[in-house]
């Protein structure tokens, strides 16, 4: 959660206690906040997919930005780079900046207060999502599908390598079988990435 604080309060002023509590009633109804929360969940899922160094580079650039316009300008620079920057992360940064402009009180809340604020609103958001997603494709569905695909590839690799060890009669056989499993895993991950890209095309 402190991760979201970074994007919302990147130019935080001196903290004053209990400011966030005042926002608890206002924020859940705000579509901008709901959009931010959706984006936060997507970004957290994506953060595990990009390398630590790349993520730190993005963080560094986001923290150094002092205004919404600057972040928006930076968005195109980052998207065009070879860092494989995930769109939701930047989208979240922009929404965070908009939210900060709309609710200046956010600037004076400390990370603990943000955690409390977001924790109180996440369960409500999940409930709303489950109602609306009955017939609609929910925001972040592509990411969920991608995660499931990658998880299946990883589990299949583990089961198949166990099978190679226990079912092949010799060490040489086990090594050949393991090589086949490794190549199959690469193909499987590639397939999942392709379907993710196709899914994103239709989502946008």
């Amino acid at each position: 959660m402190s991760f979201s604080y970074l994007f919302l309060g990147c130019v935080a002023e001196d903290p004053q206690p209990k400011q966030a509590e005042l926002l608890v009633d206002q924020l859940p109804e705000d579509p901008l906040f709901i959009e931010f929360m959706n984006s936060l969940q997507k970004s957290q899922a994506n953060a595990s997919r990009i390398s630590k160094e790349d993520f730190e580079k993005i963080q560094q650039r986001v923290i150094s930005a002092s205004s919404f316009a600057e972040v928006e300008k930076d968005r195109y620079t980052l998207s065009g780079s070879n860092l494989k920057i995930e769109h939701p992360l930047l989208e979240m940064v922009i929404l965070g900046q908009k939210l900060r402009e709309k609710y200046p009180q956010l600037l004076v809340a400390n990370p603990e207060e943000f955690d409390m604020l977001l924790a109180e609103n996440i369960s409500e958001l999940v409930q709303k999502r489950s109602v609306h997603s009955a017939n609609l494709r929910i925001f972040g569905a592509c990411e969920e599908e991608f995660d499931t695909g990658i998880e299946t590839c990883r589990n299949a690799a583990l089961v198949a390598s166990a099978a190679c060890g226990l079912l092949t009669p010799t060490l040489l056989g086990a090594l050949a079988c393991g090589g086949f499993v490794y190549l199959s895993e690469l193909v499987c991950i590639d397939d999942a990435t392709k379907s993710y890209k196709t899914c994103k095309k239709y989502e946008n």
Binding site: A156, L158, V159, L166, L167, T168, G173, V187
Partner: protein, 82 residues
């Protein structure tokens, strides 16, 4: 011995079938089912070795394959974390 060789070949195909079920049919339950069946086949192969009193040879060959398998499991578990 020919029967043993035949079952061992069959067992290799079962190992490949586990990989196919997991990666190309995206079904872990089917992969596990084939894997379990493969373990029974291994039990039968061991029984055949034991019948001709060569169980030591079976265990010797198998130990190498199992070590290979464990190394692969460790590799697949750790490769994303490194």
């Amino acid at each position: 011995m020919d029967t043993i060789k035949k079952w061992e070949t069959y067992s290799i195909f079962l190992a490949l079938a586990v990989a196919f079920a997991g990666f190309f049919f995206k079904s872990i339950p089917i992969a596990l089912l084939i894997f379990t069946f493969g373990l029974f086949v291994q039990g039968y192969i061991f029984y055949l070795y034991k019948k001709i009193d060569l169980q030591q040879e079976y265990l010797k060959k198998k130990a190498g394959a199992v070590i290979g398998g464990i190394l692969f499991i460790a590799f697949f578990l750790l490769k994303d974390g490194i």
